[in-house]
Symmetry: C2
Subunit: 432 residues, 2 copies
C-alpha cells in the first residue's frame, strides 16, 4: 500500500464538490470584472525566484535539475510567471491586462492547519495601470468574491498599508537600515513577541530606541502622525496614494471592508505600493486568509517595459477554514438527479431513459454492475439520488415505469413514453 | 528576460477561453453520467510508477529527491494515484466508484505537435464493476464528450481490442514469449515499419515465421479466426467479453463509433481486458487522440481488495488538434458584455452602473487607468465589448447616459435611472 506524500492532499468527491462550488463562485466574480483566465506552467526556471524573491521562499522551493540539466522548480506562487508572460507579449497585449487563474502551488514548509505543501490559489492581477482605481478594483473583486460566498463584513476585513510608508519612514533614520529586512520584520510582527520583533528591527540596522519608536508609530496607524514624523515627499505621496485607493474603493463598494493597518507589510520583496491582507474578523483564523498588493517594478526587472501591476491571490485552504467557521461552507456531498434502476433484463429501456434525461442536462446514473434491486436502491441512496426511475420487466410489459421520490419514499407508475416525455425535469410531484 | 521551459506552454486569454469551453463541455458530460470530480496531488512517491508501469514511462519521469529525502515524481498520468485513493478508503466508498478530474501531467519526452512535456488530460474511471456495462459506459461518455464538442462519427472512431485476446494468442506459441514486451510491440506497430515490428516480436520470443503469422492474424481483426487459431477458454472468454461490451455500447448509444481493431494494445502494462483508442477518422492526426481500458489487477497490486476498474483519459492537446481540423474548435477570443466609459469625473456613476450590471451576472469593465475617450473606446473594442455605456459629465447633468452598440456603431441616450433599470441584459436594441 502506497501513501500520499506529507503535505499533499487527496480530495474525494464530497469535499471536492464544496471546493468546486467555491472556486466557481470566486472565478465567476473575476469574470464579471473582465478578468480573463490564463493557463500557466507548473515548472519554471528556478532563477525566477532565486534572483528576486527573498530567501524565505527560496528555501522552500521544490527545485531540482531536469533531465536536460535545467535548474527548475515547482512554482511556489504565480507572480513571476505572469510577469514573464506579460514581458513575452508586451507589444501585443492591450492594457490594462486583467488576468486570473486557479491552480496549485508548492512550497516545502511546515505542515499545519490551513497550510499544506501543495496549496491552491486564485490569482487575480492587473498590469498597465498605476491609478488607484486598479488597486481598488482588486479590493472590489476580493470583496465581491467573499460576499458571493455569503461571507459578510462580520467575517472578514482587509488590512491595508503602503510599502512606501514603511520604507519612507525607515529611510528617515540615520542608520544604515536594510529596508527589505526591516519590512520583513514588520510582516512577521504579528506572529512573534515584541522583543523578537525589535531584535529583528535592530538586526536590520535600527537602535533599540528607534525600533521601539518605529513600532509605536506604525502600530498607531495614524496617517497624519506618520506624515509629520517622516516629513518627506515620499511618505506624503504614499499616504495620498493610500487615501486615493480607499476613495476609489468607496465608489467600487469595497471601502466598508477596509481598515488602514500599517503593520501589514507582506513578506515578498517585490511589493512597491499599496499592500493588504484579508483577516478573519473574529480572529479565529489567526494567519491572514490571503494578501496582495502593488508590484510596479517587477515587469521591468524581468526585462520588460516599465509596467505598473497590482494583484491578489486568495488561498483556498485558509478560505475554506474561514467559510467553515462562518457557517457558509457548502455541503460536502454529491448530488444526483436520477437513478434509473433495472429489474430483470431492462437495459435497453433503462439506457434510453437515462440518455433522454442526460440530454436534458441532468445527472443520471444507472446500473453498470449487474446488481440486485436492493443493492441498486442502496446505491441510489448513497449518491443522494432525488428521483429513482424503476424500469422493471413486468412494468415494462404494461408500458409503464415506476417513479420513486427518494425523500418521501412515495412512488407511482407512469406510461414509459411519458417519461421524461415533454417534461424538462420530471419529479414524482409532476407525474403523480 | 526569462524564458519558459521547453515543452511547457503559456495559455493567454484567447486560447484559454477556447480550452476552458472545451474542458467545461467534456466535464459536463462526465457529470451527467454521475462521474464525481476529485482533486489529486501533482507529486507522488516515484515507486507508484517505478514498481509497475514499465520502463518507457519511468524513463520520462520528472523524478527528484525532496528536501525530506523522499524519492518523488511529478505525476506522468493519473491511474496509480486514483488506485492509491481507492485503496485508502476502500471500505467507506460505495461502489461503483465513478470519478473524473482534469489536470496537467508531466513527462520528459520529445516535444512535437500535440505533445508537450506538460499536458492536460481529463481522466474518467469506474472502480468496482467487472460488467461489460462499465466498459460501455466509459465508451458512451467518451462518445458523448466528443459529440458535445460538435464532433461526429465522420471525425473520430474508437478502435477496440482486448488484452486477453493478444495475450491468449501469444501464450499459445511454444516459445517462451515475454507477453508484455510483445504487447508493447503491437502497441508500437502503427508507428514503425513491418520489419521493425517483427524484430520487436522476435526480441519478445517469437520466431520470424511466428511473428509474421501473428501479425497477419491480429491485423485481420477477425474474431472467429482468432478464436479458432487459439482454441483456448481464455481467448473464447475475451472475445465474448469484447462482444458483450459492444452490445452494451449499442444500448448506450456508442456502438456506432466503435471498430474492432486487435492492433490496438495500449503501451502501459497494467491493462487487463478491453482496451481502446480514439483515432481521427480522417487520419490527419496520426497518433491516437486518447486511449483507455480495463485494469482489473491494479488495485489489488496496490494492496487493496480485488477491485475491477476501467477508465479513459482524453488529452487536451490532441483533442484540440482534432477539433481544429474538424472546424469545431471554439473561437480563441475573449468576450465582454459591457464597457462603461468615463468622460470627465464620472467615476461614482460609472461604478454604480458597472456594479448593477455585474450583479446581473454580466462581464463588465470600466476605466481603471485614467484614460482618454478614444483610448477607452479602443480598449473596449479590443476586448470585444458588445455594448459601451458612455457616462459623460454633460450627459449626466441631464441625467442621461449614452448606449453604443459596438457592432453597428449606433448609439442613443437613455435616462440614467433606466440603465440597467428593469432590464436584465439591456442592449442598444432594447433602449433605442
Amino acid at each position: 500500500m502506497y501513501d500520499r506524500i506529507k503535505g499533499f492532499r487527496d480530495f474525494y468527491p464530497g469535499e471536492m464538490a464544496a471546493r468546486r462550488e467555491t472556486i466557481d463562485t470566486i472565478e465567476e466574480a473575476a469574470r464579471r470584472y473582465g478578468f480573463r483566465e490564463i493557463g500557466t506552467p507548473a515548472l519554471e526556471r528556478a532563477e525566477l525566484w532565486t534572483d528576486k524573491s527573498g530567501d524565505e521562499i527560496v528555501d522552500e522551493l521544490y527545485a531540482f535539475e531536469d533531465q536536460g540539466g535545467r535548474h527548475v522548480t515547482l512554482t511556489p506562487e504565480l507572480t513571476p510567471t505572469v510577469a514573464r508572460m506579460v514581458v513575452a507579449k508586451q507589444q501585443e497585449l492591450s492594457k490594462p491586462i486583467k488576468w486570473f487563474s486557479t491552480r496549485p502551488f508548492w512550497r516545502y514548509e511546515q505542515v499545519q492547519q490551513g497550510r499544506q505543501r501543495e496549496f491552491y490559489q486564485t490569482n487575480v492581477d492587473i498590469f498597465g495601470s498605476s491609478e488607484p482605481e486598479a488597486d481598488a478594483e482588486i479590493l472590489a473583486w476580493a470583496a465581491d468574491a467573499l460576499t458571493s460566498l455569503e461571507l459578510t463584513g462580520e467575517h472578514f476585513e482587509f488590512r491595508i498599508s503602503h510599502r512606501d510608508i514603511l520604507g519612507g519612514v525607515l529611510e528617515t533614520y540615520d542608520a544604515d537600515v536594510a529596508i527589505d529586512d526591516a519590512i520583513r520584520a514588520v510582516d512577521k510582527s504579528g506572529k512573534i513577541t515584541t522583543a523578537e520583533y525589535h531584535d529583528l528591527l535592530v538586526e536590520a540596522g535600527l537602535t533599540y530606541d528607534q525600533a521601539a519608536e518605529f513600532d509605536d508609530l506604525i502600530a498607531s496607524g495614524d496617517l497624519e502622525d506618520v506624515k509629520a514624523f517622516a516629513d518627506t515627499e515620499r511618505v506624503d505621496d504614499a499616504v495620498s496614494n493610500l487615501q486615493n485607493v480607499l476613495e476609489a474603493a468607496e465608489d467600487f463598494g469595497a471601502r466598508e471592508y477596509c481598515t488602514v493597518s500599517l503593520e501589514t507589510a507582506r513578506g515578498l520583496d517585490y511589493y512597491t505600493g499599496v499592500v493588504f491582507e484579508c483577516f478573519d474578523s473574529a480572529g479565529e483564523v489567526s494567519r491572514s486568509i490571503f494578501g496582495g498588493g502593488r508590484y510596479d517594478d517587477l515587469i521591468e526587472s524581468f526585462g520588460g517595459q516599465p509596467t505598473p501591476a497590482v494583484g491578489v491571490a486568495p488561498g483556498h485552504a485558509t478560505l475554506s477554514l474561514l467559510c467553515q467557521r462562518a457557517g457558509v461552507w457548502p455541503a460536502e456531498e454529491v448530488t444526483t438527479d436520477y437513478y434509473v434502476l433495472q429489474v430483470g433484463d431492462t437495459r435497453p429501456e433503462a439506457a434510453r431513459i437515462a440518455r433522454d434525461l442526460r440530454e436534458r442536462g441532468h445527472v443520471v446514473e444507472t446500473d453498470i454492475a449487474g446488481r440486485s434491486f436492493g443493492s441498486q436502491l442502496n446505491y441510489a441512496d448513497s449518491i443522494n439520488a432525488e428521483t429513482v426511475v424503476i424500469a422493471g420487466e413486468q412494468d415494462l410489459e404494461n408500458d409503464e415505469v415506476t417513479i420513486k421520490d427518494m425523500d418521501s419514499g412515495e412512488q407511482t407508475q407512469v406510461p414509459v413514453d411519458e417519461f421524461p416525455g415533454e417534461h424538462d425535469r420530471p419529479t414524482f410531484e409532476d407525474v403523480s
